[in-house]
């Protein structure tokens, strides 16, 4: 209803995490979900977060999105507090689950953020249709979520996050539910989009090869208390193609990530 809200693209994309900590009060005491995490993400970077279940990846993403308030440390998103960044619609968030609105068809699900942000009517439709084409679902624009498979639903939610063209993308295991071929296809699309639009992407995944393939840097985390175990720079040429997977540099990076992951991954504590 208000029209004074800033359009997302007007802000930068850098994220700065300093000594960040997050403690949840729980029944049996406290859960330290994140401890003393520091990380500088430059505008236009593609960062992957990888780590065992329950290590705080989602927590870190939610902190950046101002869906949680840190219990210690400092966090700046696009040069502002997370709250300001959120209020400026600086980021798009893709949740672990699709979280579609059952009563809206695919097209109008993708148009939801555009409605909330008061985009002009014609633009909404045009943008939403473009995004659906990107994720290969233009034929399903009039379908309702229940008529789609889990993987298709997740693709809709990606289209929705991209629709309002935010400078930052926060993506929580967006491709977890997809089969390998579809996944590879979407990986390529995501990379192209990232290159073309110079967005900052923070991407959570369980797949080492996916992390390495996509990222400029891979952040490896350890479980309870969630900590950043190390950061692996990925020195692969841009733009990346499928063949990059077979290069020694790819292997090297993947091996480094694997080793960091192994460190401190006691099998028992894994969830």
């Amino acid at each position: 209803m208000t029209t004074t809200v800033a359009r997302p693209s007007s802000v930068g994309g850098a994220i700065s995490v300093r000594n960040l900590g997050m403690v949840f009060p729980t029944a049996g005491g406290e859960t330290v979900a994140l401890q003393n995490a520091s990380l500088e993400i430059g505008a236009g970077e593609f960062i992957s977060l990888i780590g065992p279940s329950g290590c705080g990846k989602t927590t870190l993403l939610r902190l950046m999105a101002d869906l949680l308030t840190p219990t210690s440390g400092e966090l700046r998103v696009a040069g502002q507090t997370p709250q300001e960044a959120r209020e400026q619609r600086a980021y798009g968030y893709v949740f672990q689950a699709p979280a579609l609105f059952e009563w809206r068809n695919v097209l109008s699900n993708v148009m939801l953020p555009l409605e909330v942000m008061n985009f002009p009517k014609e633009e909404r439709r045009a943008r939403a249709e473009t995004m659906l084409r990107l994720v290969g679902l233009e034929k399903f624009a009039r379908s309702y979520p229940w008529q789609l498979s889990g993987g298709m639903q997740q693709r809709v939610s990606i289209a929705r996050a991209l629709a309002f063209d935010p400078p930052i993308l926060l993506m929580d295991e967006p491709f977890g539910a997809l089969d390998e071929i579809t996944r590879e296809h979407l990986n390529m699309e995501l990379l192209r989009l990232w290159r073309d639009t110079k967005k900052t992407v923070v991407f959570v995944t369980h797949s080492i090869s996916e992390a390495v393939f996509l990222s400029t840097r891979v952040v490896v985390m350890t479980a309870r208390p969630g900590k950043i175990e190390g950061v692996v720079d990925v020195d692969l040429p841009q733009p990346r193609t499928a063949e990059v997977r077979e290069t020694p540099a790819f292997f090297e990076a993947a091996t480094k990530v694997r080793e960091l992951l192994r460190k401190g991954h006691g099998f028992d504590v894994v969830e």
């Binding site: 939610r62 869906l67 949680l68 308030t69």
Partner: protein, 325 residues
Amino acid sequence: MASRAAEVKLRRGGVAPLALGWGLVVASFVLLGVAISQVLNVQFGTTPSNQGTVLLLTALGVVLGVFGIGRIADRTRGLTPALVTFVFSLLAVEALLRAYAVPPGLIPTPSRVWTALVNGLEVLARDAAVTFVQEALVGYLGGTIVAILVALAVVRFRFLERGLLPYAAVASSVPIVALAPVIVKAFGLEPVSKAIIVGITVFFPIVVNVVRGLQSANPHHLDLMRTYAVPPARTFLLVRVPSALPFLFTALKIATTLAMIGAIVGEFFGATGEGLGFRIQIEAGRFNLDVVWAAIVVASVLGIAFYGLVSWLESRFTFRFGSAK
């Protein structure tokens, strides 16, 4: 998971507001008490000379009470806020009825109802025994047992599911009160006829729910049993029965209300001189509304206790089956 943080932020703190709330409530009760004391002996049909004062006191008491209860309720869990609200409402109603000198043949004051309740306790207890035990409870148990047996048959035989269940679903949208006079006619004035009304009333929702519950069994569980080559009867006990329990209890809770209403309505169409419905009917005809309300109070308390009992059973059983939320 998300809103938890938001909730933490929203929790307003401090003991002082709570104490203030109680202060307001006490002040309100005092004001209402004073208001009532001003009109203790009022002739109905006349306007009390001090009506203005009493109304002012009452209004003030109501305002303070609403604010006080609001504060208490925001910060106190459990039944306390509800109980305070109850006492508050009684006092306010008493004051208003007395201030306007409303005749007891129209609306009796809470204190009159209380007196009638105390004076007629023995009779009301017997009435309650008839209505609650011989009619509502007997009908409830009978209806439930038959309904469960039918539900088992329906699940066992696909033919019945297709041929019978649609009727049962439709029948649960039939106003059963319409049955009451017919059944009283067919089965006589004794409690039995009312128990039958109750039984029929509770039957349909229970059948429908239990069937739904038995069919809600996770198909993967059923497949799993099949991979183990478990005989059907055992599968039934291991898989279908546990998944039907929550549905059964939901229906049993709905049925408590239906049972009380069914029994009382039934008595309106003939009774043997006992029962809460009989009492209500006979005394309403004489405008002894204090007795009528006393009977309603008894019926309501029994109804609530009945509901509470079933809820308690539900929590016990579902705890045993380790459900989370």
